[in-house]
Symmetry: C2
Subunit: 180 residues, 2 copies
């Protein structure tokens, strides 16, 4: 799958990622975690990303946005954004496409690349029979909230009160070992 | 997979669901949507549940809790609870097991059935290499929040500010059709 875009100011391609893109995806994952002010949270290894995404039963899918070499980033990169997704399920409505991450390098923002990645994920979800697309955003991340809401996204936490919960570390271990 | 439990007051079994359980699962999904005060939201059909969960590439997995016929519910049911889950992915930590629904019929609560379903999901997730289990709860649902937090769950919306977002209906269609 590959979409070519040519906006007034920039050529770029949105395409499915391959195993060879993992180094770039890891770089962008780290960039996003810094933007989200939790850089120490990234524990994923390059090997895990490769194995979990590019084996016969992948846990996720990932799109990348690529620009021609002549307009590469200041530090020499041509993969300038990514959209990371997978399929989930809602017992009320059915199939759901879930966008885990959406990120575009700062120097390439404002060109429609983020919107193109997000639209492509929605398109893939729709083709697979999904009725909605879900994702999470940090409440202080006003530019992203404005961007998503401007496209018609609904904040379910604000509208209906949904809280995202997690078992991790010792609590997760204890739960997995519990016997009644 | 099947776990037999025999607590002081009740025998029950937690097991993988089969296609034949779909009618009971649909009934419990409807019960949960009433408890969550959104009964009109359930649009899923019995056929969709069967096709999406019990084909060669299932979108979800579901456990059921079953009691012997002699202690069936007042209206004659032996499937008295369910735990609905699937696998997702975190670009910071890797594999995640996601518990979409956890529900036990009111007359069978307080016997450890909910905890047993939840523990089994964590156990399955752990065996599959997951490092955490995630789920959502409505902010007004104090009994459930207390139950989960009592087991060590963290409310990420309260702690870090994560907001659950959604594109649906016209906004989702528009996004899927957008071209830059």
């Amino acid at each position: 799958m590959c979409n070519q875009f040519n906006t007034s100011s920039m050529n770029y391609t949105v395409r499915d990622s391959t195993r060879e893109d993992c180094r770039d995806i890891m770089r962008l994952i780290a960039d996003l975690s810094e933007y989200e002010k939790m850089p120490d949270e990234v524990k994923l290894t390059h090997k895990e990303l490769e194995e979990d995404g590019f084996s016969s039963s992948p846990f996720f899918k990932c799109l990348v946005a690529e620009v021609p070499e002549e307009i590469q980033s200041r530090d020499g990169h041509t993969i300038v954004g990514y959209g990371f997704y997978y399929f989930t399920y809602c017992t009320w409505k059915g199939r759901v496409v879930y966008m885990e991450d959406l990120y575009v390098m700062p120097e390439f923002r404002g060109k429609g690349i983020g919107k193109a990645l997000m639209s492509r994920i929605a398109q893939i979800g729709r083709a697979r029979g999904c009725v909605r697309m879900q994702f999470t955003v940090l409440d202080w991340n006003k530019p992203s909230l404005d961007f998503y809401c401007g496209q018609g996204a609904l904040n379910l936490t604000a509208a209906e009160g949904w809280q995202l919960m997690r078992f991790e570390g010792e609590a997760f271990e204890k739960l997995a070992q519990a016997t009644n």
